[in-house]
């Protein structure tokens, strides 16, 4: 069951990523990325990280990607046609990297065949209670710092996005 989930979702995630890179339309690319992220949630679930899996869907698919889609729609038109004109790209990375990916995957696969399976997860592993204890105990400082990072990002995005409106009627 676990292996089944891992292989299916892993393959789907890889597929989503590849399709995203290949898509010309930014909207479709974003949707493939959503697909990849949902598959990633499946991989997390297979790795006994249920809380992380659901967070993955909630944060990535539900929030970050919606933000992306929103921005793509806001910058309608020109964004989509940008690359259509000249697809002859810098060729060497395009040629070199996919084989590298395949190589890495096959390498992992081959060595994985010999290696033993991941140890079974203990009871309550990855449950909210355990994560909460870690987050608010051992990693409290990091937790607070990351909150500040988010706050700064929020304010930064707001400052960048805010347009001073002085329209004639206001």
């Amino acid at each position: 069951m676990e292996a089944f989930l891992f292989f299916t979702c892993g393959a789907l995630m890889l597929l989503g990523g590849v399709m995203m890179v290949l898509q010309r339309s930014a909207v479709v690319a974003a949707l493939w990325l959503v697909f990849a992220f949902i598959a990633a949630a499946g991989v997390f679930a297979a790795l006994s990280a249920p809380f992380v899996a659901i967070m993955q869907v909630l944060v990535y698919a539900g929030a970050i990607m919606v933000l992306f889609l929103f921005v793509i729609m806001m910058l309608h038109g020109p964004v989509l046609d940008g690359e259509r004109k000249r697809l002859p790209l810098p060729m060497w990375p395009a040629v070199a990297i996919p084989p590298l990916a395949v190589l890495v995957l096959v390498g992992g696969w081959l060595s994985g065949r010999k290696a033993e399976a991941l140890p079974a997860a203990p009871e309550g592993f990855g449950a909210p209670a355990q994560i909460a204890n870690l987050l608010l105990g051992r990693y409290l400082l990091a937790f607070e710092l990351i909150s500040i990072v988010l706050l700064v990002a929020l304010i930064g995005a707001l400052t960048l996005g805010l347009r001073e409106r002085k329209l004639p009627w206001s």
């Binding site: 890179v21 790795l47 910058l75 940008g82 990916a101 051992r138 988010l150 930064g156």
Partner: protein, 101 residues
């Protein structure tokens, strides 16, 4: 067929490479940002895999931190992108290299 640590790392690396390829190949800043998200996600896989291997949920905490970083990165990145678009009317990196010249 079993799920081994190496396999997890292989998958993560492959996804990372896909993201990296996209980042290098694509000229659309929006898609490049998405590729960064994908790369971050592959790192998360590694965290989760090691967490499971070591039986320590600290990895999950790091993944959550990573989510926050990704969210912050997306928010700031997109805000900058919108601002760039507003000034230069393009999100194509090839046309956004005024500092190079």
């Amino acid at each position: 067929m079993v799920v081994s640590l190496n396999l997890c790392l292989g998958l993560a690396a492959a996804i990372f490479v896909v993201g990296m390829t996209g980042f290098v190949v694509r000229r659309n800043t929006l898609v490049m940002l998405m590729c960064i998200e994908l790369m971050l996600s592959s790192v998360n896989l590694v965290f989760a895999a090691f967490s499971r291997q070591l039986g320590d949920a600290s990895g999950h905490v790091f993944v959550l931190m990573n989510f926050a970083v990704a969210a912050a990165e997306a928010a700031i990145g997109l805000a900058m992108l919108v601002e760039i678009y507003r000034r230069r009317r393009t999100v194509d990196v090839d046309e956004l290299k005024s500092l190079m010249e």
